[in-house]
Symmetry: C2
Subunit: 211 residues, 2 copies
């Protein structure tokens, strides 16, 4: 399955690196932990990082109910959600052909507030499960009050594209004779050893008395 190109999502530059394929797009969305949400506020762009989860044909973000950027994402001007995975630094024989290996997705659209508590719960569980598989069953679930304090926004995976660069440097033919080192320095996001929080409940403070 593929997304249909629109004037703003058709591939223009570096077409060979682009894709509208949902398999390519979903794999990137399902690996990344952070997206960058762009909205327009007072005519100027604002870009903020946030956690997200993909479920079927939507990507979901969340925040406090008063979150201005998420509110703006649900207005007519809509927004752009971009997800980027950095895979390598590409060192070419020429400065000009230095590059990066990456996989990115750029999606355009308008967000919608999720108002159904069941869908809210599914999304919030999905967000927690991205941090550790099964985590939503291994922590206290949200209370109705916590749900009311949370804005969950659904964003369609309908208009946009992926872009992927892989492989080594591509130099001009005459530069291959130069003896500069050339190649790729792979980079990746790794998870370290989990660090247990040993904190216990802070003492309850009542009228200046610690009890």
């Amino acid at each position: 399955m593929a997304l249909s190109p629109t004037p703003r999502s058709r591939l223009r530059r570096r077409v060979a690196r682009g894709s509208h394929d949902r398999g390519v797009i979903d794999a990137i969305l399902d690996e990344a932990l952070v997206c960058h949400v762009g909205v327009v506020a007072d005519g100027a762009p604002v870009v903020l990082p946030t956690a997200f989860v993909r479920i079927d044909d939507h990507l979901y973000v969340h925040g406090a109910v008063a979150n201005a950027a998420l509110g703006a994402l649900c207005t007519d001007s809509g927004g752009c959600v971009t997800v980027t995975l950095l895979d390598g630094l590409v060192l070419a024989r020429s400065a000009f052909h230095h590059s990066m290996n990456y996989r990115s997705v750029v999606l355009f659209g308008r967000g919608e507030r999720v108002t159904d508590p069941g869908e809210q719960r599914t999304v919030l569980a999905g967000l927690v499960d991205r941090m550790a598989p099964g985590r939503s069953d291994a922590c206290r679930p949200p209370t109705p009050e916590e749900l009311r304090a949370t804005l969950v926004v659904r964003f369609p995976i309908r208009e946009g594209s992926a872009k992927v660069r892989t492989g080594g440097p591509i130099d001009d033919a005459e530069d291959y004779a130069l003896d500069h080192w050339a190649g790729v320095v792979p980079v990746r996001l790794v998870r370290g050893e989990p660090q247990r929080d040993e904190a216990t409940a802070p003492p309850v403070v009542t009228s200046g008395l610690v009890t």
Copy 2:
């Protein structure tokens, strides 16, 4: 030194996590390899990832001369440049208090095209040196033609703020009695072993004949 807050860059939510301090901002900018540039195109936001380098009081990005987003960054509506480093996944006893440790910078402003070839060369060397120290002296420098094909944009570090979350989960007092595992899974971007490119010059193709 600190950036002066403006209506859009003053700290509103999670004020304790925010900072206008240039030391905090610069340290984040100097560690990250990718920024997300937000501009407005036809009234709607567009967010694209790109490499960058900070030199003194500016952040620089570059692309092909026809790059539409970089062109838009230099118009009156300006843009937003956001840099995010993910440091950890914060698993709380409650789903609601799950969070992430991160360091981010959000800058607002208007870009300017760099037209001086000397400044262009300094910036392009700086971009290459971010991949590996001293790299700009260990590869072929840009030719005048390559400089003419490259758009370098200067973006001021003048209006914006940093936001930083560190440490373990902060649960509601009554939840500390729950026996769910809680803590932090650290994450970081690591560089792998450099992979040398063994390619030699591709054969020259002339009129269908490989010579």
